[in-house]
Symmetry: D2
Subunit: 389 residues, 4 copies
Amino acid sequence: MAQQTINVGLVGYQFMGKAHSNAYRQVAAFFDDLELVPVMKAICGRTEEAVKAAAEKYGWEGYETSWEKLVEREDIGLIDVSTPNNMHAPVAIAAAKAGKHILCEKPLAMSVAEAKEMVQAVKEAGVVNMVCHNYRRAPAVMLAKQLIDQGELGEIYHFRGTYLQDWIVDPEFPLVWRLRKEVAGSGVHGDLNAHLIDLARFLVGEITEVVGLMETFIKERPLLEAVDERLGARAGEQRGEVTVDDAAAFLARFENGALGTFEATRFALGRKNYNRFEINGSKGSVVFNLERMNELELYLDSDPEYARGFRTIICNEAVHPYSGAYWPSGHIIGYEHTFINTVHDLLNGIAQGESPAPTFEDGLKNQAVLEAVERSVETGTWVCIGDLL
Amino acid sequence: MAQQTINVGLVGYQFMGKAHSNAYRQVAAFFDDLELVPVMKAICGRTEEAVKAAAEKYGWEGYETSWEKLVEREDIGLIDVSTPNNMHAPVAIAAAKAGKHILCEKPLAMSVAEAKEMVQAVKEAGVVNMVCHNYRRAPAVMLAKQLIDQGELGEIYHFRGTYLQDWIVDPEFPLVWRLRKEVAGSGVHGDLNAHLIDLARFLVGEITEVVGLMETFIKERPLLEAVDERLGARAGEQRGEVTVDDAAAFLARFENGALGTFEATRFALGRKNYNRFEINGSKGSVVFNLERMNELELYLDSDPEYARGFRTIICNEAVHPYSGAYWPSGHIIGYEHTFINTVHDLLNGIAQGESPAPTFEDGLKNQAVLEAVERSVETGTWVCIGDLL
Amino acid sequence: MAQQTINVGLVGYQFMGKAHSNAYRQVAAFFDDLELVPVMKAICGRTEEAVKAAAEKYGWEGYETSWEKLVEREDIGLIDVSTPNNMHAPVAIAAAKAGKHILCEKPLAMSVAEAKEMVQAVKEAGVVNMVCHNYRRAPAVMLAKQLIDQGELGEIYHFRGTYLQDWIVDPEFPLVWRLRKEVAGSGVHGDLNAHLIDLARFLVGEITEVVGLMETFIKERPLLEAVDERLGARAGEQRGEVTVDDAAAFLARFENGALGTFEATRFALGRKNYNRFEINGSKGSVVFNLERMNELELYLDSDPEYARGFRTIICNEAVHPYSGAYWPSGHIIGYEHTFINTVHDLLNGIAQGESPAPTFEDGLKNQAVLEAVERSVETGTWVCIGDLL
Amino acid sequence: MAQQTINVGLVGYQFMGKAHSNAYRQVAAFFDDLELVPVMKAICGRTEEAVKAAAEKYGWEGYETSWEKLVEREDIGLIDVSTPNNMHAPVAIAAAKAGKHILCEKPLAMSVAEAKEMVQAVKEAGVVNMVCHNYRRAPAVMLAKQLIDQGELGEIYHFRGTYLQDWIVDPEFPLVWRLRKEVAGSGVHGDLNAHLIDLARFLVGEITEVVGLMETFIKERPLLEAVDERLGARAGEQRGEVTVDDAAAFLARFENGALGTFEATRFALGRKNYNRFEINGSKGSVVFNLERMNELELYLDSDPEYARGFRTIICNEAVHPYSGAYWPSGHIIGYEHTFINTVHDLLNGIAQGESPAPTFEDGLKNQAVLEAVERSVETGTWVCIGDLL
């Protein structure tokens, strides 16, 4: 039986380019139920030498140095936007107009206004669209979703999310693009809170209002000289202003009555990729921490009173979401597999003509929460998400 | 060498009465450097049969059924106020006027106004005064304080406090005094956030402004029929309104530029007494969780790059604060020992004529933060602590 | 209602003397169902100044400097033997002959032969007798026992016990009595493996055969100059031979077909009081670690396949063994409470005329396992426990 | 610059076949310093339909149904032996004779005799040879090795290894090849203890003598009907005898004076892939657990006394072994990456003409320990490893 294929064009070849490339390279080797096999046609970046090397290293048939050209290529069916944030809208909108399906890195856009344009573009084009909030597709997170949907946690009272990192605590760490507002839009807020918001919306529901605070601890840093695919960066001699937030926290209320606390920072020494959430419901609680992403902690009030406690579920069993595709019990997977799972669902979505969540519409709602927090920081008051949509 | 003694009168004989009694009974058996030995003179409560039984069980020489009488007794040198919150001010002010030294349970008062009166009373009387924020005196917390004071964490960026419990998730749990505003003043806010605020002020410094949210998930509960010293409660048949908060969260800014997030709830299933804080500084981080109160987690950026990680210090070594008084290495202590440590410092404070922190002045500042959050909930905006003092 | 009382005489005033004193002082203040209230009559030790100070500090009415005299005192009903190991037999046998009930520290004796004499003495005298294996009475351990007795773990396949400490890794730590064979009988073997064996016998059943190994890493140490109640020790200038084992491990088979591995050492840096066991059965597993003694980890195969994992039960609920006597949910207890629980059961045992397990008979069986391991080390072969009884 | 390549032929297409295929497919996409790029030429298995599907799924250019033919193919430079154990020797010896470099799954052989033949074959042929003990190459394990080699743990006193799984606790789990002596050689002993022995030899040194025990809890099981790459198995209706051990434990002495305890079982409910070791030295300790394979716990006695504790190092920093090839800080890797690291070192070894450890010689020494334990089980006494070599 010959398998259907789709040609993929990927824009971006650094950290996210590497992660997405890996997903396309690996997905068919793990998933037996893949309905559409990706062909790694071309990777795209501005610097020819670098993008050519990336193409070779990551297994792409060819490369492009102009995203406009890539987007126009007739043979390409799926455009993957793994650029810095300021390029999401231009590339995605052009891709939509060219009738390509789209996977776009998060946060979807630089603003709600931009996100709205992107949503309109994909709607008009009728293309499959998805935002790459890959952490939804960690098996442990998907298990949490199943538990909540089955009602095992009961009515949800609390979402408690923190996303903590420490890679810029050193004031001499240079001004990479993630620290420049014109490229990144915001700092930890769009980078990390966007993930928390996606998880909260996925697991608990829509957020209705927020109040927040943001801070930049280190106001000036050395300019950047070079960066690698692991986010390693080399500092130059001149200095420039840090124009984004180092830390951003907010309180939230959900449509269903739950309360939320959100905090993201790159100034939490010892926290490497500590994307942790805890959800408390009327019947139970779950805890997830990306640094131990194979595990879900679950507390059930229905256990006998003498035997209640948080249990640590190692989510590598065949019964766990996605895990049947990988290794036996207790043989853990890693960060990169969340992208493989995402791409798996995207490809099957394309085969079935349906955009898998989170769609651009979800990306827009996420963006509205992000922007509402920013507005709250300016006004010092609570802001309703509805006012931005 | 005959030891100096002081006669103690304790008001309250339930949960806190039991914990404080234990502290007075035990302190001299552990601490060799105790300068003033407590004599457990009288315990006081309204119900004679119950208070008489408590006196016998907990080792008091006698009992009283009128706190006014206890406070006036010539032989009493120290009044311990372990009543529900609405009695703190009347008892403490009367005790001060009678020239007694005072240990008062937290939160100090029902309001900033009341707290101010109490501060004035002890100042005028010149008596030693202390608020029983016992968790400061867990060895692990005191070690965190030492590390911060020595500069080992550097400049502090973040305080992240959560105090989570689950004992009222069941809507049939009855309306104990802690759920009635006229007795408790507030719900988790004054009960649990007060602890977090004390820890934050102790470890990080003064809070300048806050914005918060409060929620009561269960609006009505059965009236209470009976309660025991372990907080076990029996429900009656009639129902009444819950007049306090079930959950309360707030964002804060500290004087020194640090950011704070605070959250307290009694609706986090699986969290029994999860008083947890994490502090991130420019050189390191610490984490404490009361459920594992013998342990402090410490991350130091000065470790060799390949060997950095949170280390779990079991704080039972002779070099750790208070621990020299107890058991050998790794032979852990429990909740009750935080009270013994508190009473130890209080007694030595009395011997030396100095009020150990947290004093009533500290209690007032704590109260101001609590009240600022309440005001923020009403106005929907940030509130400066300074405006309340 | 006047309560029945019993006068207690305690031999030994150092580490164990302190722990046992605490238990007698505290038991009536926590347990409402205590049938016999201890009166702390006299503590006994050879050095008058020290024992007098201990009496005062720990709350004893008086003291003795001759155990023979204490044992003969008409007013004493219960003799507590908290001496170094070589004095267990003489004191306990004399106490039995004097018709006193007896609590004896572990290991019961210096040898199986001695243990047999002790068993015979208490049998002949008809006195209540108990060995102080206090860890049985940690709530978490007692919960494990209940789960096993209820069949929740099914048929037991494995007992995996390690008792690791690190207080003598420093070669300059002096030759305390625990390192001298003539006083201690053996090293970690009798000190720590005795605890593991007791737990294994309690939870899994009788051991039938063993094969083992023992080692002394540091052959010579400074002589001891002084020691305190926390095991702190000061070294002298002369050196002496270490005559006991620093580490001892053995494999075992149980009567019911289970396999056992046991290991004790004082050379495991970082392990302070790491008395850990894991039991695997056909339906579930449990794990206990004394350093987190309030917790029991439980895995149940009967959980839904997607929700299986080790749950951490914080054993401070009113439904947990002994815990109803102490503090509310999540307010943990410590090392000393295991002694309070032990003394509680002993006193009620005396009131009811029954020796609570572990009795001297249990102590003898424990001793037989210890000695079988020693014999195995000599012969290099498996040794049947039955051959020693 | 054109890169050197080597053609690979892989024998076996189930669990190990999948893992090894993945390693060859991925190694060049991660490692920039790879000196020899593998070309996935052919995979080999007896059932054509299945091996053809595997070739396609895992990315092999072609397939063979006869290993003899594969081994003789002129174009193949490296033979990877991922068969059941009884085929290791025939395939590897034939491959050596054909002048191919060899990677062989563990345990190397069915017996010491067989292992000796294999060692001789590769020596005579002068081919690069390696045993696939992939866990050595978890970054955390390699870090432990570095720490030990740098002397950071001091003199080693203890190795404490347990490898626990639970996939055959159900008596209805069928008789897969790993439960049949004629195919597997032994049960958990060769499967899991072989891993522990390799880690022990790697980290601590040579083992000199052992005493052990083995047990088969379930003597009879349903025959096997089908199995998948994740070890999922379907039972048939007839039953057969289990001819290997379900559990195997032993005590050991190392050449350098350290003591070892080893235990492997498939009857530890809740333990999925719990390959855990703890090493205690005179200056520090390390702990590794494969279920959290990105982490190494480290205790250093050189830390200030008040700040000592096990630190959890997340070994994903660029400074950690192999980790620079993967993802940023805290973005964890999984089980499969240990094979990628292994294959990386193998390929560079071939390029440099050196066999990376563990070589077949190491495999032989490992086999000698395995066999010594088996002999000890027969004789009931200690057995010297030297007697088997």
